[in-house]
């Protein structure tokens, strides 16, 4: 008997107490927890909550108008002293208007990982954000790029629109496609491994700037 057959038959033997005709849906799962948010996606309340939560993690958050976004993005990079930033395909070109094009690297052809290690910053959009937990979710869609881009550079600037912000975790999962590779980001990388105190900054980007376009 191969391992697959044997494990499956062990499982069936172990479940001898489960009645023959029982279906999974016969085991009730009460979903009495909150599935929707207290405030609507994109409302000032959820945007404000996201801002506070992200700040708690040590991320910098700015609310900007559509018109001011290009300038603020450029300022964020120059304040950091970033000589060059990688920007994935599909990032809104209008938001790059105030950047020196020589300092912008697109990922075409793919930037090798060792080169990526020398890139100062990465600028992306996001798929959705969760206010209650202070979480940004990236799904590799337009403006977000492959996962390595938001991992190897030490500085991540993430630009999202207010309507992408939902209140709770269930609303966010409902908006996401699980077949895409997803990364949930809640603040800069951190560890609690030394005496269980949270220390910011290990392997992922140690500085996270979030710009919310309202």
């Amino acid at each position: 008997m191969n391992a697959r057959t044997e494990v499956l038959s062990r499982i069936r033997r172990a479940l001898a107490d489960v009645p023959e005709g029982e279906r999974p849906e016969d085991v009730p799962v009460p979903r009495a927890y909150a599935r929707g948010g207290t405030a609507a996606a994109g409302s000032p309340q959820v945007v404000e909550l996201l801002t506070t939560r992200l700040a708690d993690y040590g991320a910098s958050v700015h609310l900007v108008s559509e018109g001011a976004a290009p300038t603020v993005i450029a300022q964020t990079l120059s304040a950091r002293g970033a000589a060059c930033a990688v920007v994935p395909q599909g990032f809104p070109p209008a938001w790059l208007a105030a950047l020196d094009p020589h300092r912008v690297l697109d990922d075409r052809p793919r930037v090798p990982v060792r080169e990526l290690d020398r890139v100062d910053s990465v600028v992306t959009t996001a798929a959705v954000a969760i206010a209650e937990t202070g979480t940004l979710v990236l799904d590799g869609g337009p403006g977000q790029g492959r996962r390595a881009l938001t991992l190897v550079p030490d500085h991540h600037v993430c630009v999202l629109r207010a309507e992408q912000v939902v209140a709770r975790v269930p609303e966010a999962l409902a908006r996401l496609d699980p077949v895409r590779p997803l990364t949930f980001v809640s603040g800069p990388s951190a560890t609690s491994d030394i005496e269980l105190d949270r220390v910011e900054g290990v392997h992922g980007p140690r500085t996270l700037h979030v710009l919310i376009v309202v």
Partner: protein, 481 residues
């Protein structure tokens, strides 16, 4: 780069005695568990639907376990359709062999690892080392354990028994032997220690061709695997290598993508006491131009089906490895993780280890007794595992199994003696007179600190009050005639 294993750990009582004598260990543990308990309490208190989430989490796990075969088959189909390969392993040895073969097929001599309880459980690093393959642990605490040639002592923070000064010493001593050395002027500031780990591991991440991980969840409906972490070392291992191998226990499957909305709320708050952990990655098979081109999922039984076969003990498989039960346990807080002789310490270890490994070894038989049954673990468990219930159930199982042994245990002799003494009032009265007389001989200041014979085992850990000079019944007869 092999550390010691748990093999040959003595039974819990004697391992606990050694741990209790280590004052630095007790100080480190008390500090860490107090910190994390407070953080968890705050994180849970701000969630208005916490109890509803716990109940939903428990129910999803129950549904899954009762139909596990069906969900595993669905998972296999989806992972395969998404470009992954699924392997099945009856036990840890088989799982380790599958991984070794897969790594050898790539021709690589080293792998980078995400922190994974399952790969600890199967002794993967040792199996890889035997095949000449170096496994680099990349989680900060795992790195401390590996560099310190130590054993993990906590599910979430394997180096919880080490304080910052000890971590500094280990980094200074051992980093240079395995790659980039720690700076000579390294202080014990956690920020600096984290920076040293970042620099030490960076080179390994950038050159790694093979990553090895576990997974916190597998979604049957979509074939999605999920890893929850803090540091970004997980993202490095899951994203940069060409080949990814994930070793996951069969109980980690959940039916639907929607079900994750429960566990992604329960786990971080229970575990690190955060609203959300810094990074969660999910992937489904392979994706063109993003991440590893080859994905292998190794599904491990390793005693899980034995656990499943016990309708009371089965609930231990609900565990999502948050470690909240360790942090609230008065026993764990005092003895630490090593005394449990398993990668799964604390209350959950005391119910999981004897079920996964069986109770043939004395160390595993002693685990269901490593508890005061206070119930704090049940209260904090995010998936409502009734640990005290399972502990009592397993104690009964250990005693029942003992009945078939040829040489009776002292406990069985004592129980037989008690049965005979309690069988009639005159026998009881005689025994009480004898005890009072013996107590006058053995006692000092109203206490007996050492009983003779097999009963000495009982007084090793506690004193016995000297029996009264006269029994209650004798006193009643004398004064109420």
């Amino acid at each position: 780069m092999n550390g010691p294993t748990f093999l040959g750990t003595p039974a819990f009582p004697s391992a606990a005695r050694t741990a209790l004598a280590d004052t630095r260990l007790r100080h480190n543990l008390a500090h860490a568990t107090t910190t994390i308990r407070r953080k968890r309490e705050e994180a849970v208190a701000e969630v208005d639907d916490w109890e509803a989430l716990r109940e939903a989490g428990r129910a999803v796990k129950e549904r899954t376990l009762r139909h596990l075969d069906r969900y595993l088959l669905q998972l296999e189909e989806r992972v395969t359709a998404a470009g992954g390969r699924v392997h099945w392993a009856r036990d840890g040895q088989e799982a380790a062999r599958i991984v070794v073969d897969l790594v050898q097929a790539t021709g690589e001599r080293e792998v980078v690892k995400v922190k994974s309880m399952t790969t600890q459980e199967i002794g993967l690093n040792e199996a890889l080392a035997d095949a000449g393959i170096t496994a680099y642990e990349t989680d900060l605490a795992e790195l401390v354990v590996q560099l310190g040639q130590d054993r993990p002592s906590h599910i979430l923070v394997p180096a919880i028994h080490r304080n910052r000064a000890e971590i500094r010493e280990i980094f200074l001593r051992a980093m240079g032997e395995h790659g980039r050395a720690a700076p000579a002027d390294l202080s014990d500031d956690p920020q600096e220690l984290a920076e040293a780990a970042r620099r030490h591991l960076r080179e390994k991440f950038l050159r790694a061709k093979v990553g090895v991980s576990g997974a916190n969840f597998l979604v049957a409906e979509t074939g999605t695997a999920v890893v929850v972490e803090s540091e970004g070392n997980g993202r490095m291992c899951l994203t940069l290598p060409e080949t990814l191998i994930s070793v996951v226990g069969i109980e980690k499957v959940v039916p639907t993508w929607q079900d994750l909305e429960i566990f992604l709320q329960l786990l971080p708050r229970s575990s690190t006491g955060e609203r959300m952990n810094p990074y969660t990655s999910s992937w489904t098979g392979t994706t063109a131009d993003d991440g590893p081109g080859a994905f292998h999922l190794v599904l491990l039984d390793g005693g899980r089906t034995d656990t499943l076969a016990d309708p009371v003990g089965r609930q231990a498989l609900n565990c999502i490895r948050c470690s909240a039960c360790l942090n609230v346990c008065p026993v764990y807080e005092r003895v630490g993780g090593h005394a449990y002789g398993s990668v799964y310490p604390g209350p959950i270890g005391a119910v999981l280890t004897p079920q996964l490994r069986g109770t043939a070894a004395e160390s595993d038989r002693s685990l269901p007794y490593a508890s005061t049954l206070c119930g704090a673990c049940y209260e904090v468990c995010p998936v409502k595992i009734n640990i005290p219930e399972v502990l009592v159930h397993l104690r009964a199982r250990v005693v029942d199994e003992g009945r078939t042994r040829k040489v009776p245990s002292p406990e069985r002799l004592a129980m037989a003696a008690a049965r005979s003494v309690l069988a009639g009032p005159s026998r009881l009265a005689a025994a009480q007179r004898a005890a009072a007389a013996a107590g006058r001989l053995l006692g000092r200041d109203g206490r007996i600190s050492r009983l003779p014979g097999p009963a000495s085992a009982w007084t090793e850990a506690r004193d016995v009050p000297v029996p009264a000079r006269e029994s209650f019944r004798a006193w009643w007869r004398r004064t109420h005639r």
